[in-house]
Amino acid sequence: MDKPAIRLLIFVLTFLLVIILPWYLSVLILITLTIYFPLYLEVLFFGFVFDTLYSYHFSFLHLGLCLATFFLLVVMFVKTKIRI
C-alpha cells in the first residue's frame, strides 16, 4: 500500500475516532499523528471539525482551529531543531 493511500486511510479512521471518542482521547491521537507525520495538515481540518460540531461561542468560534494551527507550527519548528 503506498503512502498517500495509508495517509487517506488514517485520515478516515481519525475522523471516525474524533467523532466517537471523548475529546481528550481525540486530542491525544491528533498530537501523536502531528508529531509522527512530516506535515500533518489534517490536524487543522480536525480542529475545524471540533469547532463546527461543538463550539457555540460567537465571541470566538475558532478556538480548535487556532490551537491546531499553533500546535502544528510549534511541532514543525521543533522538528527542524531536533531532526525527527
Binding site: 471516525l16 467523532i19 466517537i20 475529546w23 506535515l39 463546527t52 461543538y54 482551529l65 514543525m76
Partner: protein, 264 residues
C-alpha cells in the same frame, strides 16, 4: 589541482513553503467557518450522523469493567442500600404526584395552566465527546428555534438551544464555564446570579451571613419554577467574609439519553 566544492545546502524556501501552506489552509478554513457557519455545520452533521447512530446502537463494552473489580461484599451492601433508597423514593413519588396535581388544578383555576408544548428529543452527542458543555440533539428545522428551553425531566431545566440546523440542534447547558444564569432560591425567594463552572456545576459567591445552606434548591425565574440546581457544598473559611456555594444540576445529565425541548 583537485578542486573541492562546497556541498549545496538544502534550499531554504522548502521550510517557508510548509509554513505558507499551513497559513493558507488556516485562512481558508477560518473564512469558510466565518462566512458559511450554517452550511459547514450541516455538512459536518450530515457526515457525523450515521456514525453517531451506529455508536448509540452499540452497547458500551466498558460499562461493566469497573464493577468486575468490586468485591462481592461491597456489591451486596450497595444493593441493599439502593433497595432502601428506592423504597423511600417510591413513597416520595406518590406524595409528589398528589402535590403536582393539586398545583396544576390551582394554576388552571387561576387561568395559568401549564401548556404541554414540549418535544421529546434524543441526545446523539455530548460530553465527553464535546470539550464544551454542549449537546447535539436529533431535532431541528422548524420544530425548534434558538432560545427554546431544554429539560431533562418535568421540572429540571438544563439549558437552551443555541444553534439549529435541518435535522439537529446544539444545546448549551446553563452550567457552561463562565455563563451567568439568573435564578431564585426557592426557600427564601432571593434572586442570585449563578456562574457556570462546567460539568453540570455552578458557583455562587455570597457574603458569609447570606441564608444559603446545603440542600437548597435554585429555580429558573418564571411561573413554572423549574429546578436549575441543588446546593451540594458550601465552602466557608474563617478569614474571608464571603462563602462559595457550589450547586449541581440534579441527576446525571451526562448519561441522559433524552431531552425535552419547550417551544417558546
Amino acid at each position: 589541482m583537485k578542486m573541492s566544492y562546497l556541498l549545496k545546502s538544502k534550499p531554504k524556501h522548502e521550510y517557508r513553503a510548509k509554513i505558507l501552506s499551513v497559513i493558507i489552509l488556516f485562512i481558508s478554513l477560518y473564512i469558510l467557518q466565518f462566512l458559511f457557519p450554517s452550511f459547514t455545520k450541516n455538512i459536518i452533521y450530515s457526515v457525523s450522523r450515521p456514525v453517531w447512530a451506529v455508536e448509540n446502537k452499540i452497547p458500551n463494552p466498558f460499562s461493566k469493567f469497573v464493577g468486575f473489580f468490586k468485591s462481592q461484599n461491597n456489591l451486596i451492601n450497595q444493593n441493599l442500600s439502593l433497595e432502601d433508597e428506592l423504597s423511600s423514593l417510591k413513597l416520595k413519588e406518590i406524595d409528589y404526584d398528589l402535590l403536582y396535581k393539586e398545583n396544576q388544578d390551582l394554576k388552571n383555576e387561576l387561568g395559568r395552566g401549564k401548556s404541554n408544548n414540549r418535544i421529546l428529543s434524543r441526545v446523539i452527542s455530548g460530553p465527553p465527546n464535546s470539550p464544551y458543555d454542549t449537546f447535539i440533539i436529533d431535532i431541528g428545522g422548524s420544530d425548534v428555534s434558538v432560545g427554546d428551553k431544554v429539560y431533562i425531566s418535568d421540572n429540571v431545566i438544563v439549558g437552551v438551544i443555541q444553534n439549529v440546523t435541518f435535522k439537529n440542534s446544539l444545546v448549551e447547558l446553563f452550567s457552561t464555564g463562565g455563563k451567568k444564569t439568573q435564578s431564585i432560591l426557592s426557600r427564601t425567594g432571593a434572586s442570585y446570579i449563578l456562574i457556570g463552572r462546567g460539568g453540570s456545576n455552578f458557583e455562587l459567591v455570597v457574603p458569609k451571613d447570606t441564608d444559603v445552606i446545603w440542600g437548597d434548591v435554585f429555580v429558573y425565574p418564571g411561573l413554572s419554577s423549574s429546578v436549575i440546581g441543588i446546593v451540594s457544598y458550601v465552602d466557608t473559611t474563617s478569614q474571608s467574609s464571603f462563602k462559595t456555594v457550589y450547586i449541581k444540576i440534579p441527576g446525571n445529565i451526562f448519561s441522559s439519553k433524552n431531552f425535552f425541548v419547550e417551544n417558546q
